[in-house]
């Protein structure tokens, strides 16, 4: 069963090192005859993959860092700060989860066009700066912080920002790591929105670049496999390194209420 799950990925890696045309043969070759990095060189030198990779790192990195700040602040406020209408506002946000994101995409495109942000990094990043799921995750976790700790700091005269930065954030470290992986993976793998908002090749992220390559070089299996490796490897490596946090977050996030 594990073989079925991994076979396509392993074969992708193997074919990516084959010479052009080698994979179009019968029986389908499992291993390259003379492994070489030709396809990778071709991708980075001629097909602009380096640029796409850089764009992906930039966009996913910025989304992760900024959305982390926004979601942490909001999640903490929903968990620990007092204000009128807190529960109702939070319920309303959770309710908004039933609306598929694609409903917003057409007006969002017009809005960004009006703001001059179509075909820019900002156009991809801005809508991903906060997420209901992220806020929810932080709130669930932050509720366990003892109120006495925060009150004691307030009595000592600490300001709210000071409390947040010095006391709350260190306590939230595990959920910060979890949320960071979630955001990064989601941003890296996102397809539909970048496809819509990025109209010029110079801003393409890896999935968009790969999809456009796939339309041009449909027959070039070896090259496409190398492109897939470049796209998949970073997220797979990140997951393998931090899977404990990721899987915990998945369970925490799936138990709503």
């Amino acid at each position: 069963m594990a073989a079925v799950a991994l076979f396509p990925l392993l074969w992708m890696l193997s074919v990516s090192f084959m010479a052009p045309g080698e994979a179009s043969a019968l029986p389908p070759p499992l291993l390259p005859k003379h492994p070489s990095g030709t396809n990778y060189r071709e991708l980075f030198v001629r097909a602009g993959m380096g640029r796409y990779l850089l764009n992906s790192v930039l966009v996913a990195g910025a989304i992760t860092a900024l959305s982390l700040v926004f979601n942490l602040m909001a999640g903490y406020a929903f968990a620990k700060l007092r204000f009128a209408g807190r529960e109702r506002l939070f319920q309303a946000l959770l309710g908004a989860l039933v609306i598929p994101a694609q409903v917003a995409m057409l007006p969002l495109f017009l809005l960004l066009k009006y703001l001059g942000l179509v075909n820019s990094y900002a156009g991809v990043i801005a809508p991903a700066l906060a997420s209901v799921f992220g806020i929810f995750l932080v709130r669930q976790y932050a509720r366990d912080i003892p109120d006495e700790l925060l009150e004691a700091a307030r009595i000592d005269g600490a300001g709210e920002w000071h409390i947040f930065a010095r006391i709350v954030l260190p306590l939230l470290k595990p959920i910060i790591v979890t949320l960071a992986i979630f955001s990064f993976l989601a941003a890296w793998n996102d397809f539909m929105w970048p496809l819509i908002v990025l109209t010029g090749q110079e801003h393409y992220t890896l999935p968009i670049g790969l999809a456009s390559l796939a339309r041009e070089h449909a027959q070039d299996s070896e090259l496409m496999m190398a492109g897939s490796v470049v796209t998949v490897l970073p997220v797979l490596a990140l997951f393998l390194a931090l899977q404990r946090h990721y899987l915990q977050g998945l369970l925490l996030g799936s138990v709503k209420g």
Partner: protein, 292 residues
């Protein structure tokens, strides 16, 4: 005491982003769907006209909309049970005392989930290549004629479903695994003493105990599968003979290829309505199941 003012300062950035880039556009989409916003309106907003429910009316008379809805429902109706079955099977395998190297196995089965849809769709397109694909080669070994997986209108959607099941089952597997581990082992022990077969244990202990998990997983998977887009975009471009055009694919084409943003918004809302109705129906049926 913390003041409400500081609370709002903490909330403001996230709420502004969600408001400006999500809630406002959703409301605008509703208005947009009632207009004839197209390329001419994009050039000059004065060309915009209010058409009421005209877009909806027109869509309901377009065969392509119905076939896109049909393909999407096909994908959901076949994909969700298969995907949940695979998830539950894998979770039970991982949970059984016989399985070895569980962490390794779990990682391997989960790996496809974190991969990028576009990249793995490219791989599948190669695996299911008519002439050189591994799938047809293996079938050839047992004497089955090659199938034109992605080029035959009857086979394209099943191939995409198989791809989606492979890509996604690991996600629900982890949730099912947690659900299985929460079932008290005493229940199984008692059943074993009573001489219940493993099938009866599955039916009378595992399934009822997993029911809440099952419902949640089903709802999440259904809403995820209704959003089918990247797979047909990369693997088939909606073809052959538009047999893999999903509702979102139609929305994308209508909106960003033909720039009929008004009509595309109506497509988006109709999809939302269908998803909402299906989810509500599932919740209702599960509640009724509890009463009897």
């Amino acid at each position: 005491m913390n003041s409400p003012r500081s609370a709002w300062l903490f909330l403001a950035p996230a709420l502004v982003v969600l408001g400006v880039f999500f809630l406002l556009p959703v409301l605008a989409a509703l208005v947009l769907s009632l207009t004839d916003y197209d390329l001419y309106a994009l050039a000059d907003i004065r060309n915009l006209r209010f058409v009421g429910l005209g877009n909806y009316w027109e869509l309901l008379h377009r065969p392509l909309f119905w076939s896109a809805l049909g393909h999407t429902l096909y994908f959901v109706a076949a994909g969700v049970p298969l995907s949940m079955g695979a998830s539950l099977g894998a979770a039970m395998l991982l949970n059984s005392p016989l399985a070895r190297c569980k962490p390794l196995l779990r990682t391997a089965l989960f790996a496809p989930v974190v991969t990028t849809v576009v990249a793995v769709a490219v791989i599948w397109r190669y695996l299911f290549n008519t002439r050189y694909g591994m799938a047809n080669y293996v079938l050839g070994l047992v004497g089955i004629q090659p199938v034109d997986w992605l080029g035959d209108p009857h086979w394209a959607m099943p191939t995409i479903i198989a791809f989606a099941v492979w890509k996604n089952f690991g996600y629900n597997m982890i949730i099912f695994l947690a659900g299985l581990q929460a079932i008290p082992p005493e229940l199984y022990e008692a059943a074993r003493i009573d001489g219940a077969s493993s099938w009866r244990q599955f039916r009378h202990i595992t399934l009822p105990m997993l029911k809440p998990t099952m419902l949640m997983v089903a709802i999440l998977t259904v809403s995820g599968y209704f959003q089918l887009f990247a797979e047909p975009y990369v693997m088939t471009e909606g073809g052959p003979l538009q047999s893999t055009v999903s509702v979102l694919y139609l929305m994308y084409d209508e909106g960003f290829k033909w720039w009929n943003l008004g009509s595309a918004s109506a497509v988006a809302f109709l999809l939302f309505l269908v998803m909402f109705a299906v989810t509500a129906l599932m919740l209702r049926l599960s509640r009724r199941g509890e009463e009897t």
